[in-house]
């Protein structure tokens, strides 16, 4: 399984999926809600990003019956969870560093 760094969008998708398996539309809704509208991207571009995560072995997907309809449901793999933890640590350090330079308290 290839393990690589996830870009920012992919990091956000991993964080959303870490909470619970979701289908693509659910991922978009969760991203919008949790960011309070800050992340409102072209919804179709989420699917290529999910595809890249799947190719990298960070998520897996399967067809599933959801509310009577056949949906593709995504969930984080063990490797994906590890990568997410690393990215969270990196991001936290980055934010702390930026805040320090800007003179803001974290």
């Amino acid at each position: 399984m290839r393990r690589r760094s996830a870009g920012q969008l992919e990091m956000l998708l991993l964080a959303v999926l870490a909470g619970a398996p979701r289908h693509g539309y659910g991922v978009i809704e969760a991203l919008r809600e949790r960011s309070e509208g800050a992340f409102d991207l072209a919804e179709g571009t989420v699917y290529p990003a999910l595809r890249r995560l799947e190719d990298a072995g960070l998520v897996r997907s399967r067809w599933s019956e959801v509310e009577g309809r056949r949906r593709r449901v995504y969930e984080v793999t063990g490797t994906g969870a590890e990568v997410l933890t690393e990215r969270r640590t990196e991001w936290t350090a980055l934010v702390r560093g930026v805040d320090a330079v800007l003179g803001w308290s974290s």
């Binding site: 289908h23 539309y25 179709g44 699917y47 290529p48 309809r69 949906r71 593709r72």
Partner: protein, 279 residues
């Protein structure tokens, strides 16, 4: 918005833009449709009309070209270098088979020209060409009935034009047979084939038609100029037939590819027109 405004039209356009394995393309379309229907349902629940809800869903999803492009930023869906080489090799093999068969057909045409217009029209020598006595003896071995060395040489050259071209045609039939067998055996072909491993549109649409029309068009033009130049310059007895037969068959094959390309362009234009908003 200049793009598609209904979910069905959007999916039609997305299908045209996607490249990759058939199963992967189907998955993308299925997920896109699920998403768009959910988004439209949300819009309806918020009080929009069905048309407004679909338009909003499609706009929020993004341009079909952009979405399809994001999938193929790294490589076409599920398709690696091997599949691209396979498809290219398959297209070139088919072109080679058609080319060899065309040469064979020009051999048949040469036979017809020879019987109607004589050996010299097909393979006559240019003025001033002479042969050694030894060479003449060889020609007379093939054609003892000939009245002169020149006549025997012309008859022998005409035989060669026919036999080599017919042999190329036979080889072309073998190559075509092998191509058809390979396609049936391994199931990998462009267009709407849903067998496992089938690949949709890795090569640009119309690749074979453009290549065929170009190659055979150029061949037809070059051979035609050669035939015309020879007829005008040195007369009908200096063998313009061998070039003319090639020019006619090449032009015919080029026209066939050109018609195929035109049909493809018309069908793509109609598909785009169907998936565009009504004026």
């Amino acid at each position: 918005m200049s793009g598609p405004v209904t979910i069905d039209a959007y999916l039609d356009r997305l299908l045209l833009e996607l490249r990759g394995r058939a199963r992967d393309v189907r998955r993308v379309l299925a997920e896109a449709e699920d998403h768009l229907r959910d988004a439209a349902a949300e819009g309806l629940a918020a009080g929009l009309s069905e048309a407004e809800a679909e338009r909003a869903a499609v706009e929020r999803f993004g341009s079909p070209r952009v979405v399809a492009g994001r999938f193929s930023d790294a490589e076409p869906l599920g398709v690696g270098r091997r599949e691209i080489v396979d498809q290219l090799a398959s297209s070139l093999a088919l072109l080679a088979a058609v080319g060899l068969l065309a040469i064979g057909a020009s051999g048949v045409l040469s036979m017809g020209m020879r019987s109607l217009l004589g050996d010299r029209f097909v393979a006559g020598d240019l003025p001033g060409v002479t042969y050694t006595p030894e060479r003449c003896r060889e020609f007379f071995e093939y054609h003892p009935e000939a009245s002169s060395c020149a006549a025997a040489a012309t008859a022998h050259h005409a035989d060669e034009v026919e036999s080599y071209r017919l042999a190329a045609g036979a080889l072309g039939a073998l190559v075509l047979g092998a191509w058809l067998w390979h396609r049936r055996r391994f199931g990998a072909r462009v267009a709407d084939d849903y067998t496992p491993g089938a690949v949709v549109g890795v090569l640009p649409d119309g690749f074979a038609a453009v290549a065929g029309a170009s190659l055979f068009g150029v061949a037809g033009a070059v051979l035609g100029v050669q035939a015309l130049g020879q007829m005008v310059g040195t007369g009908a007895g200096s063998g313009p037939g061998q070039w003319l037969s090639g020019a006619l068959v090449s032009t015919l094959v080029a026209s066939w590819y050109a018609v195929a390309l035109l049909r493809l362009l018309v069908s793509r234009a109609r598909a785009r027109a169907r998936s565009s908003p009504a004026a």
